[in-house]
Symmetry: C3
Subunit: 268 residues, 3 copies
């Protein structure tokens, strides 16, 4: 077994930079998870901001350290904001994450996703179905497949990474960080993370925060998977049901430290 | 005292089907409670989704197992989404719940409620004032009455149930599940449920989830009242103040089981 | 050291009136904090409502006991609602609070803030940068200053108070309640309050609730700073990390009583 392209030492470095630099993440995300996403970023040590007016979103994309685009509850006003924020982030050399929630089965967001891809997101974070649907739009994949094999999603992710020049984080029981040349698997996490709304969406926000301080998109993806997964494991150790687990998850993000990452992070 | 039209055995059956089938509930609900509503559904064992773009809401109403329409923060964009979702749910034979928040005193939503009623919601869930206001729109009630007697709301509920062909859940200290021919009273619950935002709105979402697996609208209403009320009682047994109560309520929804329903459910 | 213009006895009186009268606060606030704001008001003993449709917001401003205008995620629809709510609140002699989130660096909200000021909010609540930016709009201040000295913000606050005829609450490590003639400093609070999203925004909502029952805008500002600050201190005594702190803060608002205010309130 070879050494992974990104190591736990890199994850520790990203965590320490997050706490030192406190990156400001501009979140254009869905209406269900805005509060929880902001609390996740604050707990981890980053700073959130949601600026949705189309005439402010472009200006703010250049002020913030990173941008998150999540299409979970996409509407016309938010599409207008995203359309100006993406090129503004690129012009200001700010990294950004695209979370293609439910792209594939739903029409408006699937068509919109093609436009988003054309702006070349630094990172795409999605589950296997979403990543395959996106790759289908990009002309190199198979489209949605409900019985999605991880292997297929990994091929789709590599196709997307080649197209964007960035990285893709395919999330599931094992998370895969993939760029055009490399792949790292991360195995931290807990099933209770699927019982709280917004954990997946908050992962995109964490990814944006990590991007603001990481040396590469791949390293940011690996750090995201390990840090959130570890916090989930720690939270599950003290809370067995979803209400108290959500609270414990925020506490665990705040409590994350280098020793925990080194001792319990699982990447290969 | 006669046997209620729906028994605790029916409530148990609905709970077990919820956990087994995990119905997907399309929530077109208000901006204050979206996150909490999603967490309530996840804690109970159902799956939430909020799809608000008018060009996606109709498509999604046919994919989801049930629909919730809550007008608490109604705006033009959401009205457009609701207008396409209702007939789409009906065409796909998906049950749906209408929660007429603050209908009566406020103009836009009261006029809109007439349109909603014309689509014949499977269940209407509201407090006494809202149910009476709705019945007034339907031509058979007295309109809003701030000193609302439960008896009057029950008559209004029966009028509405005859018009829609479905059921009405009138909520308060005692909850009444009413259809054109039958009435069941449910007496579970705790006063702390009124100190957390969104508990009433989440009740509409639970009702939609129950409808997706129940044998009748009336049975779904009774199960909703008993399951949420029991969770409230259990939560109040471990948390005496509203912040910790809200967390404990989610944990209690997750912990609900057949034995608890049989031992502590109160219907007549 | 002279007696402050508002005493802890005044704070106690406001708290007791809040619990007795349960003022209804109309919150036109940002999308990130709606649920938390509602829960803060409920925990303290007030009642929240969010009515955002422009054709209902004016009507509701006259029904509610106080109004909150927070521009954190301002969009066109919300601007339309705020434009009708402000004059409606004034016409019905309802007090209202303006929270100028991020006014200064961002264009749309900064221009909009000039319109809001023209309606003379009863209270303006902001941090030093926001208050100075607002005063700059009003022609009497220096505009945004990132290394904002409290002293400068206090001068800007007094300029604003003279213009509106109301009061200004400048929040920070020490909070300053300022009207055209008087100033009271309040020193309660805890650093964890900055690690939970919406604590500052909820402060505006508490201020609106206090205004509904207070004898003067200045007294409402002092009560707001003391009550929320004390709840933060109490919460930090039982919760050391942000997830559990947010829960404990709601519990502490519910638990606040006259003895706690008298024993631990810090104003001068």
């Amino acid at each position: 077994m070879s050494t992974p392209a990104t190591t736990l030492a890199n994850v520790v470095e990203i965590l320490e930079r997050l706490r030192a630099r406190r990156p400001l993440v501009h979140c254009l995300t869905n209406q269900v998870v805005k509060g929880f996403t902001a609390n996740v970023l604050l707990a981890l040590g980053a700073a959130p901001a949601m600026v949705e007016h189309p005439d402010e979103a472009g200006q703010f994309a250049g002020i913030a350290d990173a941008l998150l685009v999540n299409v979970g509850t996409l509407d016309e006003a938010q599409m207008a904001a995203i359309r100006v924020a993406m090129p503004a982030a690129n012009a200001a050399q700010r990294p950004w994450v695209f979370d293609p929630v439910a792209v594939g089965p739903l029409g408006v967001r699937t068509r919109f996703a093609s436009d988003v891809l054309a702006h070349r997101p630094t990172v795409i974070r999605g589950n296997a179905s979403e990543v395959m649907a996106l790759a289908g739009l990009a002309g190199g994949g198979r489209g949605v497949d409900s019985g999605a094999e991880s292997t297929v999603a990994r091929e789709a992710a590599r196709t997307l990474a080649r197209q964007t020049g960035g990285a893709v984080l395919v999330t599931g029981q094992t998370d895969y960080a993939i760029d055009s040349a490399r792949e790292v698997a991360a195995a931290n996490g807990h099933i209770l993370m699927t019982r709280v709304t917004g954990v997946g969406c908050a992962m995109g926000a964490i990814n944006a925060a990590c991007l603001a301080v990481a040396d590469s998109p791949l390293a940011a993806c690996v750090a995201t998977a390990v840090l959130l997964g570890l916090a989930g494991e720690r939270a599950a150790a003290v809370a067995a049901r979803p209400g108290s687990f959500a609270v414990a998850l925020l506490d665990a993000l705040d409590a994350l430290d280098a020793d925990t990452v080194r001792a319990h992070g699982r990447i290969c």
